[in-house]
Assembly symmetry: D2
Homo-oligomer: 100 residues x 4
């Protein structure tokens, strides 16, 4: 893990923060809805479709955070001429998110 100045992150974050929190509340609601579908013995393909939507929604939040991260911490590290460890960490994040 690379040390980063919290202040910088907070600044970038804040512009999207309410949007990100909203999306997480929506995902929580989707999980609750799918729980109910399983309780009600709903048709499997319908439930799988909702799980796919939930999974996409989570990936979308990841992409927004990734963009914030690159515009914030990674760009700052590159400008400070210590970008290499940050880029290595970034590649790890992308690789795990891409499930490779």
């Amino acid at each position: 893990m690379v040390a980063t100045s919290r202040a910088t992150r907070q600044y970038l974050y804040s512009k999207d923060k309410e949007l990100l929190l909203q999306r997480m509340r929506k995902i929580e609601g989707q999980a609750r809805g799918i729980h109910r579908m399983i309780e009600d013995d709903r048709y499997c393909p319908e439930i799988i479709q909702q799980l796919t939507a939930l999974s996409h929604a989570a990936d979308e939040v990841s992409l927004l955070l990734l963009q914030d991260h690159i515009q914030g911490c990674v760009a700052e590290a590159i400008r400070g001429e210590h970008g290499e460890p940050m880029i290595r960490e970034l590649m790890g994040v992308i690789r795990r998110a891409a499930r490779r």
Copy 2:
């Protein structure tokens, strides 16, 4: 959508139903935890890692439901010699879940 006998589904379902409900409650908890991480301005790569875990957990529930569906509705349709529309629907489910 293909009509299926609810009774068959319910039978297959029930053996895994409590497990599936548990997993959905866990995913709901993960969503709440990530909401809190964003509120607390946690480091982006840490949040992305948790989102990746949530997304994997949802995909895992999809795979369990897909197996139930194939062992139940799809197998029943094939034995009843009307498997073709069911297999076409199944391929649509797999294709969407695979994001292609």
Copy 3:
């Protein structure tokens, strides 16, 4: 691995066989084209876009073969009342293809 009658597979296969062979020749050509792009020092995002297209094309062939497999071997096994090992194998194939 589950033993299957080659005859059945061949029958199902044959309707799509020329299409599948064509697609594999196209993928081979895409690989050659990307090799050339790298030799020519083309812009990374352009090369990545072509690699993404190649990867999608391979996944598309997988989905066609998966459908053939379910309509052929899996359906035959289910009708013969020995579907369970075949469905377990099928889930393994789907799981690996989905990279989970």
Copy 4:
């Protein structure tokens, strides 16, 4: 598309170039091998496994190129204080590669 100095790219590229070319030749060989498996009516799950391996290999080349791109063009743009359009383009590349 963002204009970039070809010289910088070439420099970064060259360290991995032979590796990348080797991998593309291997992928071309994999495509040829799968073509032969289809001709020979091999068992679908075996062919799908090889297609999955080919698809992974292509994604691996994408990740190597993505790293080169971030260390080269993106870092250079950020240091030159015109990182924003480059980061937007980068997010598009990641998004398409992640199939979202």
